[in-house]
């Protein structure tokens, strides 16, 4: 990934509740500053770990460290939310669970953006697009996903 956001490009609408950044999850929530979607990974057996934990679930190794994934993913499932839950975060919008090609089951919940909700489908190739948020100096880069223009696709051949 390349193309780091600069602090001048902070997005302010819609209102989003921001994650509580800690030393344990900072690689994930601020990796977008360098344009990287980062997860913990076991240095011994190379298993990706999400959400962050101080141990590898495969080999129980303790030597885990952040590493950048490709940023590509596939829509594993999604829902079009129609209910207003959060002020100014107006429906409809797409909440999805995307799965990364790096490892079976390596998934995260996100929004699919840059596409009409009616045009999202399970199996759709997507790629990360960071949304920079700056709340009076409290900065996070939310990994959102958009259709991947580099992967020719259709609903017929997907999933």
């Amino acid at each position: 990934m390349s193309g780091a956001a600069s602090p001048g490009e902070a997005v302010t609408e819609p209102f989003r509740i921001l994650p509580k950044v800690t030393p344990e999850n900072e690689h994930f929530w601020r990796g977008g500053a360098e344009g990287e979607l980062r997860f913990l990974r076991c240095r011994a057996c190379r298993t990706w770990i999400h959400p962050p934990a101080p141990v590898c679930p495969a080999c129980y190794g303790r030597d885990v460290a952040p590493e950048a994934a490709s940023g590509r993913a596939v829509v594993h499932t999604f829902t079009v939310n129609h209910q207003p839950w959060i002020p100014t975060f107006d429906p409809p919008y797409v909440v999805a669970i995307v799965e990364l090609p790096e490892q079976a089951g390596l998934r995260l919940t996100t929004n699919i953006v840059g596409v009409d909700p009616d045009d999202v489908w399970i199996g759709m190739p997507v790629r990360v697009r960071f949304e920079f948020r700056d709340d009076n100096g409290y900065q996070v880069w939310l990994p959102l996903f958009e259709p991947d223009p580099d992967v020719p696709s259709s609903a017929e051949e997907g999933a």
């Binding site: 999850n25 079009v80 939310n81 129609h82 209910q83 909440v95 089951g105």
Partner: protein, 412 residues
């Protein structure tokens, strides 16, 4: 069915000896402790006991202020209000669903920690929300400087504030893999509404048609408004007693044939290995590992419907149909109908129509049916005791929460 107690099957040393329930309704604006005491005294009397006999106390999720209306009463308040003299007590959120608290109580009497446990679950979500709707009590209502931690950090920044979103995604995956349709899933909501019409305490009792269901507004695809349970105020209590007490009861006891408490997959809404099912898959599998009974022996099913898709998952997980076959199995709704269905389902109207009593309502209804107290909604089973069903299954919880009980009534 066997009444022996094989080594290790602790649950057969316990019975459900009484049930009770408070007033149930929308926005009744009563103190949750007041509701709880009403249910507790009702259950204690039903078991032929007095508060002086109660030496154990268990609840889910314990006292917590957020989200508003989700609890508000823990063991401490009930303990003190009734001046109970306890040998054992337990309250907490981290258990195999709401029924985990009942399983704790079963363990406590089976191991001799106590004799009679008062178990309860109290909600006042309807009053807490007032006229402001559900959004007012989600974490999303906080706004301002609130930062999402723990699990919520992975969902709230994306506007996925509700289990409707998380369960909606699971339902969408099930629809995608197996071709399940809204018309099929909707039978759960329609059946609940039809049963609620025969339950005087149910909240929504007006008839609902498939057209009503298909035309109501979406909440989070593929879940519409009628796939979501209705926030309510009310308290439900059950008494778990040592099996030796069964003979002293004024009515047959409900024997605990088996419990299911397993969670072998990841304890997560979005990281579970197979999103076409959930934690209840493991709890249900464990249930059948602990009994010689089979799904064919079950004569009434009370299965959690916080969202109708969860009930579909319980039906599959418990083996009434295969994994992925829930849609066709539900088609038309005849199998789960109160009149003539092979497996009458959510006979009181479920949380979808009778009100979100959060798990305990299903256990209360299972005992109601086993004891022949169903009135207009009583299941009449041709093989049962005096027409009453003999075996009931109760499942509660969705997502990473799931626990179940298999109950039998072989009394007179």
């Amino acid at each position: 069915m066997s009444t022996e107690v094989p080594d290790g099957r602790f649950e057969r040393k316990a019975v459900i000896s009484g049930v009770g329930q408070s007033q149930v309704g929308r926005r009744i604006y009563r103190d949750p402790l007041d509701l709880t005491i009403e249910a507790a005294l009702d259950a204690i009397a039903d078991a032929g006991l007095t508060p002086a006999d109660i030496d154990g106390l268990a609840t889910y999720p314990g006292n917590q202020e957020i989200p508003p209306g989700f609890s508000g009463v823990g063991v401490t308040e009930v303990h003190d209000a009734l001046r109970l003299q306890l040998n054992w007590f337990s309250g907490g959120l981290e258990s195999p669903g709401q029924l985990g608290s009942v399983v704790n109580a079963i363990c406590a009497v089976a191991t001799g920690l106590c004799n009679h446990v008062l178990c309860f679950r109290t909600v006042w979500e309807a009053s807490a929300q007032g006229d402001k709707g559900r959004a007012s009590v989600t974490m999303g209502g906080g706004g301002g400087m609130y930062r999402a931690g723990s699990f919520m950090q992975w969902t709230l920044p994306y506007g996925a504030a509700s289990a409707a979103n998380w369960i909606g995604m699971m339902a969408a995956r099930h629809f995608h893999e197996f071709g399940t349709t809204r018309e099929q899933m909707g039978q759960i909501a329609l059946t609940a509404r039809a049963n609620a019409a025969r339950n005087p305490k149910a909240i929504y009792r007006d008839p609902m048609t498939l057209d009503d269901y298909l035309s109501v507004r979406m909440v989070s695809t593929p879940l519409c408004l009628y796939d979501c349970d209705v926030p309510a105020d009310g308290s439900t209590a059950v008494i778990v007693s040592r099996a030796e007490h069964a003979g002293d009861l004024p009515h047959p006891a409900a024997r605990v044939e088996a419990v299911g408490t397993a969670l072998r997959g990841r304890p997560s809404w979005d990281q579970f290995d197979d999103l076409t099912t959930m934690a209840l898959r493991d709890a249900a599998a464990m249930l059948w590992e602990r009994t010689d009974l089979t799904p064919a022996d079950v004569e009434v099913a009370e299965l959690y419907d916080g969202f109708s898709f969860i009930t579909l998952c319980w039906l599959e997980a418990l083996g009434f149909c295969g994994h992925g076959e829930g849609g066709p199995w539900l088609e038309g709704g005849a199998r789960i109908a109160l009149d003539g269905g092979a497996l009458p389902l959510n006979t009181h109207g479920g949380q979808l129509s009778a009100g979100r009593l959060h798990g305990y309502g299903f256990l209360h209804e299972a005992c109601t049916q086993l004891w022949g107290r169903g009135g207009e909604r009583q299941v009449r089973h041709k093989g049962g005791v005096g027409g009453r069903p003999r075996v009931a299954v109760v499942g509660a919880g969705g997502g990473p929460l799931g626990g179940c009980l298999l109950l039998s009534s072989d009394g007179p």
